[in-house]
């Protein structure tokens, strides 16, 4: 994934800083770098779900490591976004078990409904449809990940409902708002 130079407002709130200190305290004082992945998750969640280079530099400072140590990690793991993403990113699992239960067709349906190609963001910045590899929900296929949660046993109607709920502001990405 290419790097974005889009501007990102950086805001490490007291609440976030407190959470980061808690995470860092889980590792021995001379092994602060170990907290990098959990710290990046929290920081990304608090910054519109992506990590600009300046934000990665801030993280490096927090953990007393070199910026390159953060960049190489961010670029390795697929959950870290190096460029802006939509508010609601529908990540469809498309690996075998979901594929044989119709995930590819359902993803096409969702793209058509939103009028986007895979990976594109809708002009209002709300939606994006992405195909990802196995999410460990094989028995509940087809499914997608949205924020911290999985939406499983999907069909056209459930996808329609989910889109409507997102539009109505009823979906909190980090709190369970709708089951399945």
């Amino acid at each position: 994934m290419e790097i974005s130079h889009a501007h990102q407002e950086i805001n490490i709130t007291d609440q976030l800083a407190e959470r980061l200190f808690e995470l860092i305290s889980h590792y021995p004082p001379d092994k602060k770098k170990s907290a990098l992945l959990p710290v990046l998750h929290e920081v990304q969640d608090a910054h519109d779900n992506w990590l600009s280079i300046p934000l990665q530099d801030v993280v490096a400072g927090m953990l007393d490591i070199k910026p390159i140590e953060v960049y190489e990690v961010v670029s390795f793991y697929t959950m870290f976004n190096q460029k802006p993403v939509a508010k609601y990113m529908f990540e469809f699992c498309r690996t075998s078990c979901c594929a044989v239960r119709g995930s590819e067709n359902l993803m096409d349906y969702t793209c058509n409904k939103l009028g986007v190609q895979e990976g594109e963001i809708t002009p209002d910045g709300l939606f994006q449809v992405v195909g990802v590899e196995c999410l460990g929900a094989c028995g509940y296929a087809p499914m997608l990940q949205l924020g911290d949660y999985y939406k499983e046993h999907l069909n056209h109607e459930k996808v329609d409902q989910l889109i409507a709920d997102c539009r109505a502001g009823k979906v909190d990405l980090h709190k369970l708002t709708i089951t399945e």
């Binding site: 889980h26 959990p38 998750h41 793991y77 044989v100 067709n105 590899e133 196995c134």
Partner: protein, 456 residues
Amino acid sequence: MGQKILLEHANVPGIKTYEVYRREGGYRSVEKALKSMTPDEVVEEVKTSGLRGRGGAGFPTGMKWSFIDKKSGKPRHLVCNADESEPGTFKDRYLMEYIPHLLIEGMITSSYALGCNLSYIYIRGEYMWVYRILETAIKEAYAAGWLGKNILGTGWDLDLHVHCGAGAYICGEETALIESLEGKRGNPRIKPPFPAVSGLWANPTVVNNVESIAVVPWIVNNTGAEYAKIGIGRSTGTKLISASGHCKKPGVYEIELGLSVDEFMNSDQYLGGMMDDRPLKALVPGGSSVPILPAHLIFKNAEGGDRLMSYESLSEGGFASGSMLGSGGFIVYNDTTCVVRNTWNFSRFYHHESCGQCSPCREGTGWMEKVLHRIENGHGREEDIDLLWDIQRKIEGNTICPLGDAAAWPVAAAIRHFRDEFEYHVRFPEKIKSRDHFVAEPFEQVKHLVERQPVI
């Protein structure tokens, strides 16, 4: 029938909370181990149980524990591998989501056996809500005095934390997991040194699957000898199987090892047969990495003996006619499945997940994906099939970690058992234009075309 060990209390309302878990007899193994057993006695019980690693490789857990370096005097660590990412596998998630304290109890008892004072659960980043469930459960365990300083007044301290990954299958490989836990890219390490000697922060480390650790409390409470009575031969105990694909009742099941594949597949207690009663075409019994089995080798082995759900029985016949129990990711395919498309799907997965350190894997997985993609999309050539065979053979055994093998085996097995389907794709490109080509016209109905066509 069918003893439940891990899921014994799964249906008790509120079992997720500390109070209910404790009321149902939770944390007894910690009391028993700390008050009446030495760490080595716990290790012995696990050895006696015959428990084999539930992550996929099936290496005896007790033996793995006995390798940990206790002489160097360095701090030791137990790391639980909850990075569950093998396509077809979702059993650990079920355990952690519904009975989180079982894993935590197992971590405490196992850490005691290994003499650890700082242990971690490494969970895949996508399971974020499960991460929060575990965080809450760990806080409850601290509050109740099962974690922290001077546990049960024995003078033994243990800190346990949960650490999240960020979307990398390779971090399920134990040395890549350790790298990731150190805040680095998930590149597997060259072994030796093994983690038992030099693991997390160069300290002696044991990495065990969730299911392996979660069964330790039962073994400590009931003895290893009792555990060894369950199961068949060297496949002792119970195993969680995650079933998916075209079966009637996908989900997570706990079975006694030794159950027949037929009963698991067709009885109402388990999968209840095939979805929409369509014919069974193929089975991947142990997660995407293990060889796919064609219908005639699923319920019977090549000699005609019953195929059982056990490490030994599923691998009878080697790769020529067998497969592996692996992680227990049981993927069922009916006659509408295109094996070529499915193999391409798996190859795309491995290409995406290859860490890129070793050339055979980095280049080979991408090459296989490309060739399979063109065959599936009607641009394949007759010689592509042999080319694929050649590529997979050159990946297998030539990489630092087993991801290379895992990428090679599904391709090899697909060609071995379903070569005619590849030939059909190459020779009749106009018939495979739609993604769902075998939904409209299952391969069984068009198979004769391949047989009639002379090979030029």
